[in-house]
């Protein structure tokens, strides 16, 4: 003879099992919806299919070198989208297994802004001597600290990094410096109109990349391909 309280316990357990089964089914449906929304491949930008030869300045932690490497990649024509795509390809190289400069995979660059230098802009003055470029600042630069171009048409690139990339970046003078030099060198090789580069993180200035490399200064765009310097051991 089964006692009354055992029957009650039995039916309570059955109820719990059914409730849990319903909850699991509901969670499964939610997860499926979430995955299917992420897999939505509807294109936002016009497709670009023509591959071209571009140069990536790739870093190597073991010897502190930056080496120019050629890749065939399809890039958009518009300059800011091109700069952003270049940097995403660069960071993706570092996320590959066995990378000599391992970084976390995932989106690293939120935006790239290209601003004409000086930041108050240039205008073409056709009344000037045709032998010259005819480019004059629209607003006279009176600020002695203003960022000036080396040549008319020069641009300042502002790279807005994602905080999840910066927060996961390995800490160290060499590894952080190599990341910045790799970015600077890659932009210099492929977008020669960029003369200076600044960094933001989630739209805000940040002191360092991961505790060492300065993110507040303006970096000149330059060829950063270097080999490890080993001094002669003889005096």
């Amino acid at each position: 003879m089964i006692s009354r309280h055992q029957r009650i316990l039995f039916w309570v357990l059955i109820g719990c099992i059914l409730a849990m089964a319903g909850f699991l089914f509901w969670e499964r449906e939610r997860a499926r919806d979430r995955v299917s929304s992420l897999a939505d491949a509807t294109p936002i930008d016009a497709p670009y299919t023509n591959t071209e030869s571009i140069t990536l300045d790739l870093a190597n932690d073991s010897d502190g070198s930056i080496t120019a490497t050629t890749r065939q990649i399809a890039l958009p024509d518009e300059a800011t989208a091109r700069a952003r795509a270049l940097l995403e390809h660069l960071i993706a190289e570092y996320a590959l297994p066995g990378s000599p400069h391992p970084l976390q995979s995932g989106a690293a660059v939120d935006d790239v802004f290209l601003l004409p230098l000086p930041v108050n802009g240039h205008a073409i003055d056709t009344s000037t001597n045709p032998a010259t470029t005819g480019a004059t600042p629209t607003i006279p630069v009176t600020d002695p600290n203003a960022i000036k171009p080396q040549s008319p048409g020069g641009e300042l690139a502002v790279i807005n990094l994602r905080s999840n990339f910066v927060n996961a970046h390995p800490s160290g003078v060499e590894v952080e410096t190599l990341t910045l030099q790799s970015i600077i060198g890659t932009l210099h090789a492929n977008l020669p109109q960029i003369e200076q580069i600044r960094f933001l993180v989630d739209g805000q200035p940040r002191e360092t990349l991961a505790g060492h490399a300065d993110l507040l200064r303006t970096y000149p765009s330059r060829d950063t391909t270097v080999q490890a310097t080993v001094p002669d051991a003889t005096p």
């Binding site: 002695p144 600290n145 160290g172 003078v173 410096t177 200064r217």
Partner: protein, 193 residues
Amino acid sequence: MTLNLAFKLRSLLAARGFNVVMTRDSDSATEPNTPNPLTLDDRAGIANHAHPVACLLLHATASGNGVHLYSSELDPTSGEPSANPWLTGQAPWVVQSQRLQKQLGTALTRGNIPLVMSRASVRPVDSLTCPALVVELAPDGSDADSLNDASYQQRVAEALATALVFWKTQAQPPDRLPETSATPPPAPAGARP
């Protein structure tokens, strides 16, 4: 780990007649919950006031291998005033810093310690008014635990101390500074962010 290397270097330099100024000798000086924690600018100020023959900023990292020596990325200036002198104080000293970098690099190479030498923008090296280098200790080979190896740290410290003894007799103020601003060369300052 970095303090261990700093203490070893301090002992070796003191034994060779140097007066070593360290900007901290414990981890508590820079912890955020410490009253008035030392900032990077504070530490650059301490080093600048000491008028040292060399400023070394000691760091450690688990990536790469050997020792990484970095001098400032500033371009050497010829005397023109800067928009922000505090952030470009190292400019007149860059040539001296690169000479020091070469001497330390030679000593480390002789000690069979893997070496990377380059230039980097790491605060507060650009604010130091002395021959200044960032010295980053990385693992000896691929073994990350070697960072804590006392004998490895001792080898690095001995190579640095040997080079600094030679450097002490060669340190000169940069051309554009008045003679009195850097003539007494009493000590290298071990500034460690």
